[in-house]
């Protein structure tokens, strides 16, 4: 019966509407979080600018620093990739972008006969690389949409530990940089060791060059001790900036993905409604045809004038008399 099809379509439309409500809510939530995440990125700028300046000043006037974090290794045997993704899906190509970038680098390393280790940050990266049997180190997760400095600190310390203990010879950071709400890009940035140009080309803008001619500083305690304490903080600050960028990007991706899901649901609902209306019209027409032909069969032909017939035209219509 045609009425059955109508009911099925009605059910599909209803479920589509429920889905649309969910995606719409997620879109709005993501949109409001982008703003907050952006503010957090902004709020972290003064600290990272200052600490970059201090590192520069110290490097310029301290000079004789031979901190392990500054000295690059001659031979790079093992590279550590810190891959920043989300904890959850439903954010379009966000996770895939960072994962693919990291995977490409790793394949190149493997081809060149070098070792690698992945530090996945965010549950999606962890399951992705675990499923594919990659060589993974410690993983972090559970804070991708709202990272705190403590999280950055934990990752930073772990990475520094890996580097200073000699397990890895350099650390690269793969994350999605937030440029604006409309554009984000996956970037690969060296994190450890810090080279002179790492310090110069960090996440912040390039610092005001040569302002006030790096004057001779007084140190308390001596410069080496400060340097040793400062560099880990610097790594953590960069880690934090990357986490914040990644979180803002995640929300932007999710908003876009959910917006297109909502639009798509709208389209589907419109199409299904048209099909449903047509099906309903068809069934009504068929019913009328049946009744008319039934009436004709009953009438012996001589009294063709007026028949009052009650029609039940189903939902949307009252019981109504039709004059045939």
């Amino acid at each position: 019966m045609a009425g059955g099809q109508e009911r099925i379509l009605r059910g599909r439309i209803r479920s589509m509407q429920a889905t649309k409500k969910i995606t719409r809510a997620m879109e709005l939530i993501a949109a409001s979080r982008i703003v907050k995440a952006q503010q957090r990125v902004q709020a972290a700028v003064p600290y990272s600018e200052r600490i970059t300046e201090v590192v520069k000043d110290l490097a310029a006037s301290g000079g004789n620093t031979n901190s392990p974090l500054l000295a690059g290794r001659d031979e790079i045997k093992t590279t550590c990739y810190v891959v920043l993704t989300a904890d959850r899906g439903l954010c379009g190509g966000y996770n895939a972008g960072a994962q693919r970038a990291a995977e490409g680098e790793i394949k190149a390393d493997v081809l060149a006969g070098k070792g690698y280790e992945i530090i996945p940050v965010g549950r999606k990266a962890e399951s992705y690389f675990r499923f594919r049997g990659y060589n993974m180190g410690r993983s972090f997760g559970g804070f991708s949409d709202n990272p705190g400095y403590a999280d950055a600190k934990e990752i930073g310390q772990h990475v520094i530990e890996l580097y200073t203990s000699g397990q890895v010879d350099r650390v690269e950071l793969v994350y999605t940089r937030f440029i604006s709400a409309g554009s984000q890009e996956v970037v690969l940035r060296p994190l450890v060791p810090l080279s002179k140009d790492t310090v110069a080309g960090g996440d912040g803008r390039p610092a005001g060059a040569g302002e006030g001619a790096s004057s001779s500083y007084e140190f308390e305690p001596e410069s080496d001790a400060i340097f040793d304490a400062l560099l880990p903080r610097y790594v953590e600050a960069r880690m934090y900036a990357a986490l914040l960028n990644a979180a803002a990007s995640e929300h932007a991706f999710r908003q876009r993905a959910m917006k297109s899901a909502t639009d798509n649901a709208d389209d589907l609902i419109r199409n299904l409604s048209i099909i449903m209306n047509r099906a309903r019209q068809d069934s009504i027409t068929t019913e009328i045809m049946e009744i008319v032909s039934g009436a004709e069969a009953l009438g012996s032909g001589d009294q063709m004038d007026t028949w009052m017939v009650d029609l039940d035209l189903g939902t949307g219509f009252d019981q109504r008399s039709v004059r045939l």
């Binding site: 972290a44 003064p46 600290y47 600490i51 201090v54 000043d57 110290l58 400095y149 001779s216 400060i226």
Partner: protein, 134 residues
């Protein structure tokens, strides 16, 4: 920039905690003890202990802050304090700090633990910054 004022900025990774104009800043460096900066101070870089930092504002008031470690850089009459964690005295939960202090003291009576000692240091810095006499 006026030469008899210091521009003070206290920043933590998550936000700018405080900024203002001051006539003097007192803080405490590792192994150096308390140090006061006046306008015209020579360029200075120091690592900080957990401490109660006082910023003497131009208007005569004093801004108290609990600074939990970090660095101070002084140059061109600008004092920047970079700290993992810094709090304004007015925002400190005195009751909580007092409890933390008692807990830490209690534990330190039995065993020496660097973590507990630094928790005690934090509680001290908080309490003095909140204007509680110990």
């Amino acid at each position: 920039m006026s030469t008899n004022h210091l521009t003070v900025e206290v920043v933590s990774p998550e936000r700018l905690v405080y900024s203002g104009e001051a006539t003097m800043v007192i803080t405490r460096t590792i192994r150096g003890g308390e140090v006061a900066f006046l306008p015209g101070h020579a360029p200075f870089l120091g690592a900080l202990e957990e401490n109660h930092t006082r910023v003497f504002l131009v208007g005569g008031q004093v801004e108290d802050l609990a600074v939990h470690g970090g660095f101070v850089e002084v140059s061109n009459n600008t004092v920047s304090i970079l700290s993992d964690n810094a709090e304004l005295g007015s925002t400190i939960d005195v009751e909580r700090a007092r409890l933390a202090k008692e807990r830490a003291e209690e534990r330190l009576r039995h065993e020496h633990d660097a973590e507990v000692a630094s928790a005690l240091g934090r509680a001290h810095a908080r309490l003095t910054a909140a204007g509680v006499s110990l």
